[in-house]
Subunit: 583 residues, 2 copies
C-alpha cells in the first residue's frame, strides 16, 4: 500500500479525552475514530490489525473442531423472556421496538439464539458434541464507555457455544477450548495468564478468564512464579503460613492503649511488629436454618442481628467474597455498626480481640499460626500483648479469609505468588443446563430418554485484544506490534524520493519484490520530511523499517531498523527480503 | 469436514412458508434458519458460501484501489439530522434510544458516518481521490420481509464511498467501480447485466444497477442481444420503428363501432390488425409557467384541469415515467376522469382518436410512423379507419412514450432487445454534493479554496447474492453452485463404509490427499443409506462428487459425478485430484 493512496490519519498530539495509552495510541496511529460515546469506526490501519486477530482466532477455533455460524445482531425479545434474561439483564441490554412495535434486543451475547437453533436442529446424542462459534458485532449499552475500544458499546466478539449429553464430554471440550485459547494468545504474541475465575452471574460450575497482563488492567491477578497457577485475587486461595505457631516466649499482659485505636497507631506507639498484631472485624452472622428467611424477619421486626467476629493479621486484607461464602457468615456480607459492636462487646471497634469475646470467632489461617501477638482486650482503651493460642484463649475455627499478597506461597505448592493487573480478553464457562432447562433444549440420550443439553460457552473480546496488545507493547514513540498483529510487516521509507530518481527506482523495485513475496508493505511515497515519515511509522509500530537514501546506494545498500529492538543495520538491497522474512 | 462432526441440517420437505426457490433451497440445504421475521442465522454451509462472496468482493475492491474500513452499526441521530434524513427516511430506518434516552439509528447505509469521517480526516485535494469501503451488517426495517435473505431486515452489504474535487475524478472512479463490479459478478459465475437505472431518491446524476437475471426477479430489464446495452424497462428508450410512414393505400372512412369500446373488441369485430390501431389516453397537462403552483390553486378552487392526449400503438404500453417527464404533462401523472373526458371531447374513453381532437396531442414514436390506421372518431360509437398523418390530420408532437418490448431495436443501434427479470445485487451512483453540502464536508482545492466534496457511492448486496445465485443455478435435485461460491468443492461418499474396511481406508486416504492439496472436501462419514447421502450432496450442490464403493475398488477406481453436467465417469483413484482440480 502506498501512503499517498491510503488514509493514514496519524496525529502528533495526544488526544485530551483518551485516558489509557492504548486509546491514545489507537487514535494517534489512525486506527479508530470515535463516532459517538462507545461507538468507533475502525479506520484502515486499525481494521487490518482487527482482521489479523480475527484470522488467528478463526483458525484456532476451526483447528479445535468448532464450526462457524453467524447469528443476527437483532434478536427477538421472546427468546430472552424464555431464558428469563429479558427481566434479569440490566440496562446494558438495549431493548428496542421495531416498526410494528414488537420487542427486540441488540444482542450482547447469544446464548438464547444458539439454544433456539440447537433445540430445533439437534435431536439425538449422535449429533453431539457440537461446538458452534461466530465472530460478530455485539452491543452492550455500558453506562460509562471508556478506554476506547477496551470498553466500547459496539464491539467484536468471538463467542462459541458447545453442547453435550455428559459432563465428561463438556469437560473434554472445555479443555480443548482452554488449549485453543492458549494457542490463540500465544500466536498473537501476548503475555497472558489463564486464571481461575468467579463465574459471576452467568452461573455454572467452572470458569477461567484469560488476562493480558498490563498495568492499566481492571483486575488483580495472582500467579505463581514457578507454575501455571493463576487466579483472580478475589478467588486465589491463601494457604497457611506455617503448620503450627512458634512456641510462646511472652506472658500475656493487658496494657492501657488509650491513643491506639488503629493497628498503625498500635505499631507506632508500642514495641510490636505489624505481623504480630491482628484485626478483629465484626459482621452479621448467618442463621443456621433458612438464614435468608430469618434475616428478612429480623429486618422487618427490627430485632437484633446475631454477630460473628472475623480475625485477620494486622497487615492482611479481608477478602469479602471468601468471608461471605463462609456458612456462619451472612451473605452478602454486612459489617456490624459501631452501636451493634458496643452493645454486644462493651467496647468500640478499636479495642477488639479474641480474648474474652462472647460471640463466634473465625480466624484466618495466617492468624492460627501466630504466637506472642497483640489484640484489643474488648475493653475500651486496652490491648493484650503476648497472646498465645490455647494457653490464653482457645483456637477458634480456622478459615481462608484474606486476600493473597505478593510473596505468599502458591496454593499449588509450587513457588510464590506475584500480583499483577490484567485485562480480560477471554472467558470460558461450563454453563451446565442453565439455558437448556429454561429454554427446553433437550435431546434423546443413549438410553432413548430426553435430557437437557449440557452447555459450555467460550468468549474472546476480539476488538479488546487490539487495545490490550498495545497496552503491553509500546514505548515513547508509539506501538510495537507483535508480528502476528502488525498491520504491515515492513515499511519502506525513501528519503527525498521526489528529488532522486535513483532512490525512487530502488524503492519501487524493493516494494515490488517484497509484495511479490507475499509481504505486506507500507510504502511511504508522500512528499514529507524524513522526520515526519520516521515518526509516523514508529507510531504505527511496523516491525521492520527499510530506509532508502542516496548515502548508501553506491554500496547497493539500505538502512534497516527493527521496531522492537531499536537495532539498526546496513543491509545489501539483495538481503532485505531474507532479513524481513527471518523474523 | 466430516459430516459426522458438522451441522448439516438438510431437510427433505419444502418448507411451507418459503415462496421462492432460493429460499426453499437455502432452508433445505441447511444454509440459513429463521430467528424472527427478516432475521436469519447463517448456519455452517450457508456461512461458507457467504464468506466466498465476501472474499471475491473484498479482493476486487482492493484491486480497484478501495480501502477497507469498518463503521459502527449503531449511529447517532445527530448525523442523520445534519443530512436531513432523520426526517426524510421512512420507517425502514429503525430509530432507537439508548439507556440515557439519546437517539440513535440502526444503520441501513452509511453516507452520514463516512461523510463525518472524511470531513474530519481529509483537508486537502492532495488526499483525494479516496474510495473507502466496508463489508458490514445493515438493518432495514422492511414492512414485509420476504424471500428469505433476498429481502431480510438484517443483511450484509458491501458499501463504498468515494470522494473527489472534480466531476472527472468521480467519473474515473465510477468507471473503475463499474469494471470491478463486472469482475466480481463474473468471478462469481453469475449471468448478470449492468443496467442504466433511475437514481430514485438517493439523487445524483448517473447510476447503474447490476442485476442477476432470474425469473423470480422483481425488476424488468431490457437488454440488447448484440451489445452491452441494458436498462430498466422503465428507463429503456423506445426508438422509432421506421423513419417515415408507408404511403397511404386507404381512404379515411368513419364507421359505426357501437360494440367496440376497446382495442381488443375493435380488432375482433373489424378487419384491422392491432398494429394498425392506436390508444388515446387523456391526462392532465402541466401549465407552462410554475405548474405546481397553478395545479395547487386549481385543486383548491375546483377549477377544471387542462388536458393533453397521449397516443400509443394499440399493442404498446404507456410508460408512465416517460410520460410524466414530458414538459407538457403533469408530474406525477394524473389520468383524466371519464367525466373530464366527456366534457372536453364529447365522447367516452372508448371512442377517442387524433382526428378532430381539440386539445394538445403527443404521439409515440411508433405511432408517428403508422399509416392506414384506425382510431376513435371522438364521437360516441364511431371510429375512423384508414387514417394517414398529414393527409387526414397533422402529425402532432412526437415523443418516446411507451415501454420497450422484446424484439424492439436496441437504442444503441446494435441488435434487438430482450426482456428479462432481474434481481438487483449491486448499485453504483454518482452522488455529487448532496451529502457533502448538507454536512459541510469540504476540502481545499488546487486553488486553495474550500469546496464541497463530490461523492460517489457503490453498494453490493452480499447476502442477497447468495440467494440470487441459487435462483439462477438450481434443478429438481437442489442447488448447483458456481465453483467460486461452492461451500465445498468436493464431496466424498463412501458406500457402507462402516461395513467395509477397504472402502473406509480408500475414503480416508482420498480425504487426506485432497485436503492436503488445499481442496475443500465434505466427507460424508455418517451411517446413512447411500440414497440419503446422494440426495443431501445434490441438494447442497457440491460441484464434484466422488463415490467410493466395493464394486470399483478391485480396479482401484471410484465413481465421479459432476453436479452441473450430471455426467458420470469411472476414475482411477490416482486421477481424482487432477480431475477435480481441472475445473
Amino acid at each position: 500500500m502506498r501512503t499517498s493512496q491510503y488514509l493514514l490519519g496519524t496525529m502528533k498530539e495526544t488526544p485530551a479525552d483518551a485516558e489509557v495509552i492504548s486509546h491514545q495510541l489507537m487514535l494517534r496511529a489512525g486506527m479508530v475514530r470515535k463516532v459517538a460515546s462507545g461507538l468507533y469506526t475502525w479506520t484502515p490501519t486499525g481494521l487490518r490489525v482487527l482482521r489479523k486477530v480475527e484470522h488467528v482466532v478463526r483458525e484456532e477455533m476451526e483447528k479445535a473442531g468448532a464450526i462457524e455460524v453467524l447469528m443476527p445482531m437483532v434478536q427477538p425479545a421472546d427468546l430472552w423472556e424464555e431464558s428469563g434474561r429479558w427481566q434479569d439483564y440490566g440496562p446494558e441490554l438495549l431493548r428496542i421496538k421495531d416498526r410494528h412495535n414488537r420487542d427486540f434486543v441488540l444482542g450482547p451475547t447469544h446464548e438464547e439464539v444458539i439454544s433456539e437453533l440447537v433445540r430445533k436442529e439437534v435431536n439425538s446424542y449422535k449429533q453431539l458434541p457440537l461446538n458452534l462459534f461466530q465472530i460478530q458485532t455485539k452491543f452492550r449499552d455500558e453506562i460509562r464507555p471508556r478506554f476506547g475500544v477496551m470498553r466500547s458499546r459496539e464491539f467484536i466478539m468471538k463467542d462459541a457455544y458447545s453442547f453435550h449429553t455428559t459432563q465428561e464430554s463438556l469437560e473434554e471440550t472445555y479443555k480443548t477450548m482452554f488449549d485453543a485459547y492458549c494457542n490463540i494468545f500465544t500466536r498473537l504474541g501476548l503475555d497472558f495468564r489463564p486464571v481461575i475465575a468467579d463465574t459471576g452471574s452467568i452461573g455454572g460450575n467452572m470458569s477461567h478468564e484469560f488476562h493480558v497482563l498490563a498495568s492499566s488492567g481492571e483486575d488483580d491477578i495472582a500467579f505463581s512464579d514457578s507454575s501455571d497457577y493463576a487466579a483472580n485475587v478475589e478467588l486465589a486461595e491463601a494457604v497457611a503460613i506455617a503448620d503450627e505457631p512458634l512456641a510462646a516466649t511472652q506472658a500475656m499482659e493487658k496494657i492501657a492503649t488509650p491513643e491506639a485505636k488503629t493497628i498503625k497507631a498500635l505499631v507506632e506507639q508500642f514495641d510490636v511488629n505489624i505481623e504480630n498484631t491482628v484485626k478483629t472485624l465484626i459482621v452479621h452472622a448467618a442463621e443456621a436454618t433458612d438464614a435468608s428467611d430469618k434475616k428478612a424477619t429480623e429486618a422487618a421486626t427490627g430485632k437484633k442481628a446475631k454477630l460473628v467476629a472475623l480475625i485477620i493479621r494486622g497487615d492482611h486484607e479481608l477478602n469479602e467474597i471468601k468471608a461471605a461464602k463462609h456458612p456462619a457468615v451472612a451473605s452478602p456480607l454486612v459489617f456490624a455498626s459501631d452501636e451493634e459492636i458496643k452493645t454486644a462487646v462493651g467496647a468500640g471497634p478499636g479495642s477488639l480481640g479474641p480474648v474474652n469475646l462472647s460471640m463466634p470467632v473465625i480466624v484466618d489461617r495466617a492468624v492460627a499460626s501466630m504466637s506472642d501477638f497483640a489484640a484489643g482486650a474488648n475493653e475500651e482503651g486496652f490491648h493484650f500483648f503476648g497472646i498465645n493460642w490455647n494457653r490464653d484463649v482457645d483456637l477458634p475455627e480456622v478459615a481462608d479469609l484474606r486476600n493473597v499478597q505478593a510473596g505468599d506461597a502458591s496454593p499449588d505448592g509450587k513457588g510464590t505468588l506475584n500480583i499483577a493487573r490484567g485485562i480480560e480478553v477471554g472467558h470460558i464457562f461450563q454453563l451446565g443446563t442453565k439455558y437448556s432447562e429454561a429454554m427446553k433444549a433437550g435431546v434423546l440420550n443413549e438410553e432413548g430418554k430426553n435430557q437437557a443439553l449440557i452447555m459450555g460457552c467460550y468468549g474472546i473480546g476480539v476488538s479488546r485484544i487490539v487495545a490490550a496488545a498495545i497496552e503491553q507493547n509500546n514505548d515513547a514513540n508509539g506501538i510495537i506490534w507483535p508480528a502476528a498483529m502488525a498491520p504491515y510487516q515492513v515499511c519502506i521509507l525513501p528519503m527525498n524520493m521526489h528529488k532522486s530518481a535513483r532512490v525512487q527506482e530502488v524503492a519501487e523495485n524493493l516494494y515490488a519484490e517484497l509484495k511479490a513475496a507475499g509481504i505486506e508493505v507500507l510504502f511511504d511515497d508522500r512528499k514529507e520530511r524524513p522526520g515526519v515519515m520516521f515518526a509516523d511509522m514508529e507510531l504505527i509500530g511496523i516491525p521492520h523499517t527499510i530506509v532508502i537514501g542516496e548515502r548508501n546506494l553506491d554500496e547497493q545498500a539500505v538502512e534497516y531498523k527493527n521496531r522492537r529492538s531499536g537495532e539498526k543495520e546496513t543491509l545489501k538491497i539483495a538481503d532485505v527480503l531474507a532479513r524481513v522474512q527471518g523474523e
